[in-house]
């Protein structure tokens, strides 16, 4: 009678479900926000600085976002593992990659939510001028997509292994070096002391975009194999 649901609608459904659960349980985002604020404090003392600019500013900001993302990635598929979500997707007449896109989407939302708080706090703590932050936004958005897509690909591997919390970050960090390089290069120029420097702005966005695209394609191609029993 009814044909199997279309993949976009499955993605939307799973994504909506995840966001609803997150809103209700507040498992990930508040922890990420708190975590990032505390890391800022640690950096303040670790670097012995109260004002940051250029590469130091970019480094602190991006490393903080990166580590907060790792937190979220670690718990991304826990519910699926514990409550049979993997089996459900496997048995249902839906494309398994819908789960991949939905989870990546959820991660992007969490990261954006994080940055809505973490960026102003960063500005408050460390920056002399918020000028560079606006052109930084597209960079951060592309970085978030990269973090989310790679995280959604590696997370099921980690969740289904015995060294759960270790394996995820271990595999993820080298994979995330290219987008981090590009984001840092853009960030250090945009947050430079005298004023935002747009040197090769397009190149950094290009690298981030290319990375996102390639990993989206890889995830789309191989995710199904992660769902198999």
């Amino acid at each position: 009678m009814s044909s199997p649901p279309s993949t976009p609608s499955v993605i939307a459904t799973i994504l909506a479900k995840d966001l609803r659960v997150e809103l209700r349980t507040l498992q990930s985002v508040p922890a990420m926000v708190l975590f990032s604020t505390t890391i800022y404090v640690v950096f303040r003392f670790g670097l012995d600085r109260t004002r940051l600019a250029g590469s130091l500013a970019a480094g602190v900001l991006l490393v903080t976002i990166l580590f907060a993302a790792l937190l979220a990635v670690n718990r991304l598929f826990v519910a699926e593992r514990e409550q049979g979500g993997f089996e459900a997707v496997r048995l249902a007449p839906v494309d398994g990659t819908a789960l991949f896109f939905a989870k990546a989407g959820a991660l992007v939302v969490y990261l954006v939510a994080l940055e809505i708080v973490a960026l102003p706090v960063f500005w408050l703590f460390f920056l002399d001028s918020g000028e560079g932050l606006l052109p930084l936004l597209p960079v951060l958005l592309l970085l978030d997509v990269g973090l989310a897509v790679t995280g959604a690909l590696i997370s099921p591997i980690a969740t289904n292994s015995t060294a759960r919390d270790l394996i995820g970050p271990l595999i993820l960090l080298p994979l995330l070096v290219p987008p981090m390089i590009a984001a840092s290069a853009a960030g250090q120029r945009l947050l430079a002391g005298p004023g935002p420097d747009y040197d090769r702005y397009g190149t950094w966005l290009g690298i981030l975009g290319l990375y996102d695209l390639i990993f989206l394609l890889i995830g789309w191609a191989v995710f199904d194999f992660l769902l198999e029993d």
Binding site: N160, A163, P174, L175, A185
Partner: protein, 244 residues
């Protein structure tokens, strides 16, 4: 090409022998770096072959996922494993080259070396990944997913690191795109062929060892399977838990 191991081993020895002879007795010193540059004939082929080996591992992984045949998984694992070993050699010889040229054991100025380090760190996680998944089939499948992802990552990584290099720092090491003379090219190619043969030889060797190990396990299981015969269970004490 199904060369026997013996032929391959002989060819490898010959190529490497001739290659090293060319390095030390034939090719002239490079004008800029002098004698140090001779490390180039060792370091660069190792690096290129290692990276190629990672890509080969990814290709075997694709075939594994498509067919489910564990043979491809074995080939993928051994390819990556051998390339990681080559990678260790790359990093050590690169450090020696850096020390000789710049006085420091590690330099961040050379984008190729830095990219290679990142790739190496990534593939080093291949082992903890495999050990963390006890179920054989799932382990193989996840490892294949990793090998494919990592294989696609390699070119991306080199591009990103290269782009991030400040244009102020010149490339410090003369490589193949510098001005290589004909003699240097010949020496390089022979060494390259030798390292490629070595890689292939080590991969074939290890695959054979794995296959033989597997057959010993099968034999052990078969001998233990018949309960009516005396000495059951003895076989299990021989060769317990063969290699993974």
């Amino acid at each position: 090409m199904n060369l026997s191991l013996r032929v391959l081993a002989f060819a490898t020895a010959a190529l490497i022998g001739v290659g090293f002879a060319l390095v030390f007795f034939y090719v002239p010193n490079e004008a800029d770096q002098g004698f140090i540059q001779k490390i180039f004939y060792l370091h660069v082929p190792l690096a290129i072959i290692a990276l190629g080996g990672f890509i080969v591992g990814g290709i075997h992984a694709i075939r594994h996922l498509r067919s489910g045949d564990p043979v491809h998984d074995a080939r993928s694992y051994v390819s990556i494993h051998t390339s990681v070993i080559f990678g260790v050699a790359v990093l050590i010889t690169g450090a020696i080259w850096a020390k000789a040229s710049w006085g420091r054991w590690w330099v961040w100025d050379e984008p190729t070396l830095v990219s290679f380090l990142i790739v190496f760190l990534l593939y080093a996680t291949y082992y903890p990944l495999r050990y963390a998944i006890p179920d054989r089939e799932r382990q193989a499948r996840y490892a294949s997913v990793f090998a494919i992802t990592a294989g696609a990552f390699v070119p991306l990584n080199f591009m990103a690191v290269r782009a991030a290099q400040s244009l102020v720092h010149p490339r410090t090491f003369a490589t193949a795109d510098g001005g290589l003379t004909g003699e240097m090219w010949l020496t390089f190619l022979v060494c390259f062929a030798g390292m490629a043969a070595l890689w292939w030889l080590l991969v074939r060797f290890e695959l054979t060892a794995k296959r033989t190990s597997g057959q010993v396990s099968r034999l052990r299981r078969a001998l233990d399977a018949d309960p009516s015969l005396p000495g059951t269970g003895v076989a299990a004490r021989i060769a317990p838990g063969t290699s993974r």
